[in-house]
Subunit: 334 residues, 2 copies
């Protein structure tokens, strides 16, 4: 049995309130009593219990994190960042997965409330609008979503990607998305379109229409692919490689989100990374301000960062792949 406030008080012959005062540093307590209490506390290894405190103060020190799909590969970094940001504010994190289902999302939020969460960080399902919660909430979605509180500058990320390719001499690109209905993907592609110079062109291809033939796109002149996710960039890269094309010599490839594998493939994947720590701490800070009774702060847009790796390179004078020598690698193992 964990020691309770009452145990400390009884053993010391003082009241529970006195012990509580010592621990919270609030009420005035004599130095002698304070010393005794602190001693006993560390002796018994007392830790104030959550439920009692929550009941009394109306604050649980827990926040809910509602996600549309935990299995999304971007989630680990995100959850980790939120957990870290919350922990540094002394908060715990309760997770829930809505599986992309709006009614499950509403359910999940209800359950977080019921469990006593002080606030909710929510990444909404596509097309869902989160409205009038009886609770502090922070919405993380695309900037163009109404009610959004914190997000990455997806549009700016798209621009950076295209600008990088333009500098390398690319003028014919492919923009690769998964779903037209994703606001984040649309924002990214809009940013790409906006950055195209007058002499550059791009085709937009959606994976929801079926897997495109990347080698054929290259044969028709495209020298670069920008995908709205590293996952799709990886698909493009491996399709190109297994069709005998070389990245980046034949085609440059860029992704988004700097997923776990992106630095570990050959060539390393150039990508636009979200600043997860910044987004997470902004989201948690946003929540804390609401809890402190401040008005809902303005939306915060966090810039994305271009991480250049081996998958992008300058446009080469056109040499048909079959005429080029097969690249050789040094032998590292004796």
């Amino acid at each position: 049995m964990q020691p309770k406030l009452k145990d400390i008080a009884r053993e010391l012959g003082v009241s529970t309130a006195t012990v509580s005062n010592v621990l919270s540093g609030k009420g005035r307590v004599s130095d002698e009593t304070r010393r005794l209490v602190n001693e006993k506390v560390s002796e018994l290894g007392y830790r104030p219990g959550g439920p009692g405190r929550a009941l009394r103060t109306g604050r649980s020190g827990v926040l809910g994190l509602v996600l549309p799909d935990i299995s999304n590969p971007l989630f680990p970094a995100f959850a980790q960042a939120i957990e870290a940001a919350a922990a540094s504010s002394g908060f715990g994190v309760l997770i829930a997965d809505s599986h992309g289902d709006p009614s499950a999302q509403t359910d999940a939020m209800q359950r977080m409330i019921q469990r006593g969460a002080d606030g909710i960080v929510i990444v909404p399902c596509r097309g869902t609008q989160v409205s009038d919660l009886p609770l502090a909430a922070t919405i993380i979605d695309a900037a163009s979503t109404p009610g959004n509180c914190v997000c990455s500058d997806h549009h700016g990320g798209g621009r950076l990607a295209v600008e990088h390719l333009l500098e390398l001499g690319h003028r014919k690109m492919v923009f690769l998305g998964q779903s037209r209905r994703s606001t984040v993907q649309s924002d990214r592609i809009d940013g790409m379109q906006a950055a195209l110079s007058v002499d550059a062109r791009a085709d937009v291809v959606w994976l929801e229409d079926g897997l495109p033939d990347f080698a054929a796109l290259a044969r028709r002149g495209a020298t670069a692919v920008i995908a709205t996710s590293d996952l799709h960039a990886l698909t493009a890269l491996t399709c190109l490689q297994s069709a005998g094309l070389t990245v980046p010599e034949d085609v440059s490839v860029i992704g988004f989100d700097d997923l776990s594998f992106s630095a570990r493939i050959a060539p390393g994947l150039t990508t636009l990374a979200q600043d997860m720590p910044e987004i997470a701490s902004a989201a948690v800070a946003h929540l804390m301000q609401q809890l402190d009774g401040a008005p809902v702060p303005a939306a915060r847009i966090v810039p994305m960062a271009l991480r250049i790796r081996g998958s992008t390179g300058p446009v080469l004078k056109t040499i048909p792949p079959q005429d080029r020598p097969i690249p050789q690698q040094g032998d590292l193992t004796p």
Copy 2:
């Protein structure tokens, strides 16, 4: 303000005990009163609040999930499965990340206890031993870890991988691990070794010693690579491809864990998948039994499943890569 038990009671002119009895279905209540209460409850949208209940019953309906590294790409599937299993038992999930640090792990567990978690599911840091918790706990690690409660049959997975390759005619393989200190990886590689036929050989290579030259390994006769994670298999596969070798014609590649990208690359990655739903529900069930006062159940070992995709194929009569025609892909886009 959320409605309280007292609000329902007052509006109906009954006592809070009666309302509580109706909701829990325990004490005897007249059908008429029952109907009235249920009506009022759904009218006001009353939900029993967690903290009050937790304080009274000593059960919070929340379990803690302590992970060594949320950013591990295997985690999403795992967290999702645990969350689903917990939710179907009416439990919430509080997450914590120990960042591989044993003291942070202990801290995290303390905080879960403090927050009132009823039990803990823990994937321990490497080399950590979890001992005598004042709480129900389920440890998920390798089978060879003392105290382990639930895990995949990593050894059997290794065997399945090698058996698959032997059937395809492979006799010279490379086993690729990341860290010698990982019990899971060791178990997997032990299983691989155990399944080698007398005429087959394998070299074990560790990424912690530096990135090997996969093309050179192939030139010296290896026709297959089995990595202890899809992440490392992907590294091998892309290194081979960018060195001009073809998968699976020149070298077959197998990974572990069926990560999110594994089905989306070209060729699709053959892999050994963990049965996450089964592991998660076993872990949660294990916890529930302890909470119900049952003795700690025996450890449960869940089989792994071989998912064959395009990255493994039969050994071909040796044709040097440069003499083979460059593969062509059909054009899907008009």
